[in-house]
Amino acid sequence: MKEVRIDCMYETCPIPLLKALKELKKMEIGDILIMETDHSCSITNVIDWAKKQGHNVDYVEISEGEWEIYIEKMR
C-alpha cells in the first residue's frame, strides 16, 4: 500500500499519460500513484483513461494551473 510520486511538470501531452502507464505497470494493486502536472489536458486525458481502466481516480488543483492527480491501482 505504498504511494508513488511522479513529477510531470512542464511535460507536454502525451508524456504524462505514458509515464503514468509505465509506472502503474510496476505497481501493486492498492498502491496510489500521485502525479504532479501543469498540463491542462492531463486532468481530462489521464483521468478519462484511468477511469476506463477501472482504477479509482481523482485530482486536486494545487496552484494556478497545477494539479495533482491520484490514481489508485485496482487491477
Partner: protein, 172 residues
C-alpha cells in the same frame, strides 16, 4: 458558485466541446461564407516579416495560383486570418484566466525545444502541400464534401502513428 464551478472550472465533456465547435463553425460559414481556417494566416505573418526585411514574397508563384493571394483590401497583417487567430488565442486566455489556471509554462529542456521546432516546421510544410491544416483541410473540409478532407484525415492518422513511434523512441 455551483454554476461557476461547472461552467468555468471543471473541464467540459469532449462531446459537448465537439458539438459547440461544429455549431460555431457552421455559424461562421453561414455568416461570412468562409469556414474556419488557420494556417494560411501563419504564412501571411511570415510573409509580413520577410516584407519587413525588404523582401517581396508577394511576388512568389504561390500567391498567384489557387486563390492563394490576399483578397482586395487585405494586407499580410490585416486579413481574415489575423483576426480569427488572435481571437482564438484571446478566447483561450480568457477561459484560462476565468478558471484561475493561467500559468507561464517554461520549456523543460533542449530536447523539448528541438522537437517543438521540428514539429512546427513539419506541420507548416505539410499544410502547404495539402491546402490546409487539421482545421482547414479536415475539420472544415470533410463537412464541405471535398474528398481531400477524407484523404487528409486518413493520412494524418498514418503520420500520427509514425510520430508516436518517434516519440516513444526519443522523447519518453
Amino acid at each position: 458558485m455551483q454554476i461557476y464551478q461547472k461552467l468555468f472550472k471543471k473541464p467540459w465533456p469532449y462531446l459537448m466541446g465537439g458539438a459547440l465547435l461544429a455549431i460555431l463553425n457552421i455559424i461562421l460559414f453561414a455568416s461570412t461564407g468562409e469556414p474556419w481556417k488557420i494556417t494560411s494566416g501563419f504564412l501571411y505573418w511570415g510573409a509580413a516579416i520577410l516584407e519587413f526585411f525588404g523582401m517581396d514574397p508577394g511576388k512568389w508563384y504561390y500567391f498567384s495560383v489557387y486563390n492563394n493571394g490576399l483578397d482586395s483590401g487585405e494586407t499580410f497583417l490585416n486579413n481574415y486570418y489575423s483576426v480569427i487567430n488572435l481571437a482564438v488565442i484571446m478566447g483561450a486566455l480568457i477561459a484560462a484566466l476565468l478558471a484561475s489556471e493561467f500559468k507561464w509554462k517554461k520549456i523543460k529542456n533542449k530536447r523539448q525545444l528541438f522537437f517543438g521546432l521540428l514539429g512546427g516546421i513539419l506541420m507548416g510544410y505539410g499544410t502547404r502541400l495539402s491546402f490546409g491544416c487539421n482545421i482547414g483541410s479536415y475539420f472544415s473540409a470533410i463537412p464541405s464534401f471535398s474528398l481531400h478532407g477524407w484523404v487528409f484525415g486518413i493520412f494524418m492518422f498514418i503520420g500520427a502513428w509514425i510520430g508516436s513511434k518517434v516519440l516513444f523512441r526519443y522523447l519518453l
